[in-house]
């Protein structure tokens, strides 16, 4: 089965630094997502992306966050100035369509640790 791939698997950064989390969605998928899971908490939606623009974002996704699809394959999440509370597992996902019954395919996640 095709997979969503995420790099790096672990990222350690200092508070205030910028980080970019990278994702390669499945090639024929059109909808892309970022979710995160803080240790011990539920998986939270951050943002969805379609047709080169954000289609929905949560209240977590403030001005410190941005997403980009710089080429035909990568989908990145940038955190401009990291805070301690940004430490979490970040999951990228993609789906072929945007319908509510669509299956999301998730990557393995990037564990971000902000020190």
């Amino acid at each position: 089965e095709p997979e969503v791939t995420q790099t790096p698997s672990h990222q350690v950064t200092q508070m205030g630094q910028e980080v970019i989390l990278r994702c390669v969605p499945i090639s024929n998928h059109l909808y892309f997502y970022w979710y995160r899971q803080i240790l011990g908490q539920k998986v939270e939606f951050l943002v969805s992306f379609y047709n080169n623009e954000i289609s929905e974002k949560s209240e977590i996704f403030d001005d410190q966050f941005s997403v980009e699809r710089p080429d035909g394959s990568n989908f990145t999440l940038k955190i401009r100035s990291t805070k301690l509370e940004d430490s979490a597992m970040y999951f990228c996902a993609s789906s072929p369509g945007g319908g509510s019954n669509e299956k999301l395919f998730f990557g393995s996640g990037t564990q971000l640790s902000v020190l």
Binding site: Y33, K42, V43, F45, S48, E56, S100, N101, F106, G107
Partner: protein, 112 residues
């Protein structure tokens, strides 16, 4: 407000025991319901989904779930678990439009 809740945070059971994980959602319209599983060190994988038709849905690895509209529930079941079923299980739903929302997850530990 839309939400989804899972009844148990941790479940420990022996191999061959039956498993049932509760999930309830809060939403007034048509819903699409999912169960995802996350094995240790691996990514989230879809176990099964419901969006219409037969409310009893069969998924991979012997799992099934039943959608009971009157109870706003979508409980996951497996008649006989194996050690390899040790994982975290997430109920999730989407309304007619919008984001996939997850429950808090249930950590299931199956002992030999």
């Amino acid at each position: 407000a839309q939400s989804v809740s899972q009844h148990n945070h941790h479940v420990i059971l022996s191999e061959a025991a039956s498993l049932e994980l509760g999930c309830n959602y809060s939403y007034g319209g048509t819903v699409n319901l999912f169960w995802y599983v996350q094995y240790p060190g691996q990514h989230l994988q879809l176990l099964l989904k419901y969006f219409s038709g037969d409310p009893l849905v069969k998924g991979i690895k012997g799992f099934e779930a039943e959608f009971i509209k009157s109870k706003f529930s979508f409980n996951l079941r497996k008649p006989s678990v194996q050690w390899s079923d040790t994982a975290e299980y997430f109920c999730a739903f989407r309304g007619s439009w919008g984001k996939l929302q997850f429950g808090a997850g249930t950590q299931v530990v199956v002992t030999p």
